[in-house]
């Protein structure tokens, strides 16, 4: 299993540069792509295959299967934005995003859903995105599914996931098997710390190698600080190498130029870079409408062993509550989270004796989560990206009544599933949460809990929007081609172009939309020379 893909590739002549060693490049690219995640890698592969000279710039470093030791803290420090300690501006929501070659796909949990029809309909109606049609998108979804080997998980779910199946079956609620982008998965459960077997078909082992195989250059450990632009054109990027441990940038600023730039730094970072570059923004849309699928959670304890730290992290889900409600409340998708001890310890609540007792039940615990689909109501504008004094991007995400009401509903729904599946006790993940032994006791307990910031432990692993697609410049940042409304040779191809949240785990939406937009761009360019645009 350890035939290292990258060692072999480098031996075959892959053009890989560690900016910490040198930033000097003589490569003369047709297109610069900022970010090597879901969007960036997919665009890079398509463009490189079409004969374009592609330069990919990635802030994270190159870590591959041989570096992935299932060590949580090492992974959080090396592979995640802000060492996995990123939060929204007021600290109300913890935000997980990747920062490494392959972007967040290197650390994600492999759940792969198409964009729900209800989401596409909302985009057509509210943002004039006529192309948001499942028939139109179908060929792109099918090709990505084939390329990344996306299939319903065929093995049995681990006991953590089986709780959803058993509980929903008992209640007569919807549940189904999750399709995953894996090939020869060892069912280990460490997708979040980087797949040690290369089974996960992340960008690290698929589109990035494909782009490199077709002559693309990848410079990693380099941060793009600004775009340079004049009139209605970007002219290039200003970037700077990271230090040895990727903590800070250091050394000389480098100005790289290309006739075409694709921004794919992911939500928060992509609009952040536009704001730092003071790109034209006549309607003040940049960074607005950033969505998080805010997550609230329930911890249940069972008599039997669950061992939620082992086995494919997500294999069963329930959409029993995932429609778009007519009220201001949100729908939510129910899944579970993998249960490695460091991250779970932060969710057990309490401290001292009580926390320790709860930790001792780790192997019998089940951690269920509800992903709230934000951005589907006229009053729900999600969050807004701004810059800190030092230029770092941060999302200001206000927590309103609709969210708290949805939390209450989601807490109850999850508790019902957990009790129906045979839980001995269920506890809301809340600073004052207590384990309850019946649904009635849980409901009564929930009534006493304040639904407010810091008490309800909210988190997010899905950041979307901030450079929304829209027919008109008043409503978004890019047009239906992903082209910036004001800068003609700047495109945004990543999760930030979605005008609302997806309402399902977003990676497959990002792959398929990026593939479509990139191929349309290639067709428009019509030749290998974007200078002829």
């Amino acid at each position: 299993m350890n035939n290292d893909l990258y060692a072999a590739g480098i031996a075959r002549g892959w053009n890989l540069v560690d900016a910490r060693e040198t930033l000097a490049t003589t490569y003369n690219p047709d297109v610069i792509i900022i970010g090597s995640g879901a969007g960036g890698a997919t665009a890079a592969a398509a463009l490189a295959k079409a004969g374009f000279r592609v330069l990919i710039l990635e802030e994270g470093s190159l870590k591959t299967a041989n570096d992935f030791h299932n060590d949580e803290l090492k992974a959080y420090a090396e592979l995640y934005q802000e060492g996995a300690l990123r939060t929204s501006k007021d600290g109300g929501i913890s935000i997980l995003q990747g920062r490494t070659v392959g972007g967040t796909t290197t650390v994600n949990w492999t759940s792969s859903f198409r964009t729900p029809n209800s989401t596409l309909a909302y985009w057509r109606e509210q943002f004039g995105i006529a192309t948001a049609q499942s028939e139109h998108l179908k060929p792109y979804f099918e090709r990505v599914e084939q390329r990344l080997n996306i299939e319903r998980w065929a093995a049995s779910p681990n006991a953590n996931n089986a709780v959803i199946q058993r509980g929903c079956e008992q209640l007569g609620w919807h549940w189904d098997v999750i399709p995953r982008n894996v090939q020869g998965c060892w069912n280990l459960g460490y997708c979040g710390t980087g797949c040690p077997t290369n089974a996960k078909q992340s960008m690290l082992v698929t589109h990035i190698p494909e782009a490199l195989e077709h002559g693309a250059q990848l410079i990693h450990s380099v941060r793009v600080q600004q775009l340079t632009w004049a009139n209605d054109q970007v002219t290039g990027v200003i970037c700077q190498a990271m230090d040895a441990h990727l903590h800070h940038t250091r050394g000389e600023l480098m100005h790289l130029q290309a006739p075409l730039v694709i921004l794919a730094g992911g939500a928060i970072n992509s609009p952040g870079l536009l704001l730092r570059s003071q790109t034209p923004d006549p309607h003040r849309t940049t960074g607005k409408r950033t969505f998080l699928h805010p997550v609230c959670m329930n911890m249940a304890v069972f008599d039997e062993t669950i061992d939620g730290f082992y086995g494919a992290p997500q294999s069963i889900y329930s959409d029993a509550f995932n429609d778009i409600p007519s009220t201001a409340e949100m729908g939510f998708k129910i899944e579970v989270a993998p249960m490695q001890p460091s991250i779970v310890s932060a969710l057990m609540g309490e401290f001292g004796d009580q926390h320790y007792q709860r930790m001792q039940q780790l192997a019998q615990s089940n951690l269920m989560l509800a992903l709230m689909r934000d951005g589907f109501h006229g009053d729900d504008h999600g969050g807004r990206v701004e810059l800190r004094a030092n230029g770092d991007a941060v999302v200001d995400y206000p927590l309103g009544e609709a969210l708290w009401n949805t939390c209450k509903k989601a807490f109850m729904a999850m508790a019902r599933i957990q009790f129906a599946a045979g839980a001995r006790s269920v506890m809301p993940v809340h600073a004052l949460g207590k384990a309850c032994t019946s649904i009635a006791a849980y409901q009564a307990h929930l009534e006493t809990l304040p639904m407010r910031i810091f008490d309800v432990r909210l988190s997010s692993a899905h950041v979307m929007g901030g450079c929304g697609m829209s027919e008109t410049p008043e409503q978004g940042v890019v047009n239906l081609s992903g082209q910036h409304h004001q800068l003609r040779n700047l495109y945004v191809f990543d999760g930030s172009i979605f005008p609302s949240s997806i309402g399902a785990n977003p990676q497959l939406s990002i792959y398929a939309w990026t593939l479509k937009l990139t191929e349309e761009l290639i067709a428009r360019l019509g030749s290998h020379d974007p200078r002829a645009q």
């Binding site: 299932n70 959080y76 802000e82 407010r452």
Partner: protein, 173 residues
């Protein structure tokens, strides 16, 4: 100040204290560098977290403060300037002699506290109406917990066997 009057501390007062905390940092200038043996934690952070760690982790028989502190230091090193600043502000506010009493209800130095006094402090912040304190409570607990349960020495006792061993063996073969 007793517990009741502490709980009544208004948000305005909290803000005022946060401001004093700002000048506390200024006065703290001499102690703004990492402590000996750490990359991020300063002397006052080491004092603060040394007092808190045992109370937050509880009766874990393998607990080792030095390991836990080093793990926390590594986590903060990998985080962001904004995150480090928040932790520094909190530690400054809680350890600086002028603000410590009114903000934390802890009137003596952190080094001299009994376990039950530290637990009382955590409870006060956990149940506070002031967001700033609840945020502090959450931050302290989550950082300490993640740091400790991320080290292998913590695992045996909670029934986590660690990553499958065959992986390590395969890698070495």
């Amino acid at each position: 100040m007793n517990r009741r009057s502490f709980l009544k501390l208004s948000f305005g007062a909290a803000l005022l204290l946060a401001t004093i905390g700002g000048s506390a940092r200024f006065l703290h200038r001499a102690r703004r560098h990492p402590a000996e043996g750490y990359d991020v934690l300063r002397d006052q952070d080491v004092i603060f977290f040394s007092a808190l760690f045992p109370a937050v982790i509880g009766p874990h028989p393998q607990f080792q403060l030095s390991l836990a502190l080093r793990s926390l230091d590594r986590m903060l090193l990998a985080s962001s300037p904004a995150m480090r600043k928040e932790v520094f502000n909190l530690a400054d506010l809680a350890t600086f002699a002028i603000t410590r009493g009114p903000v934390t209800g802890v009137w003596r130095g952190w080094q001299h506290l009994q376990d039950d006094q530290i637990r009382a402090f955590l409870k006060r912040w956990q149940h506070s109406r002031v967001g700033l304190y609840r945020q502090g409570y959450q931050g302290i607990c989550q950082l300490c917990q993640m740091a400790w349960y991320g080290v292998p020495q913590a695992w045996h006792n909670i029934g986590y066997p660690g990553p499958p061993e065959f992986l390590t063996r395969l890698r070495e073969s």
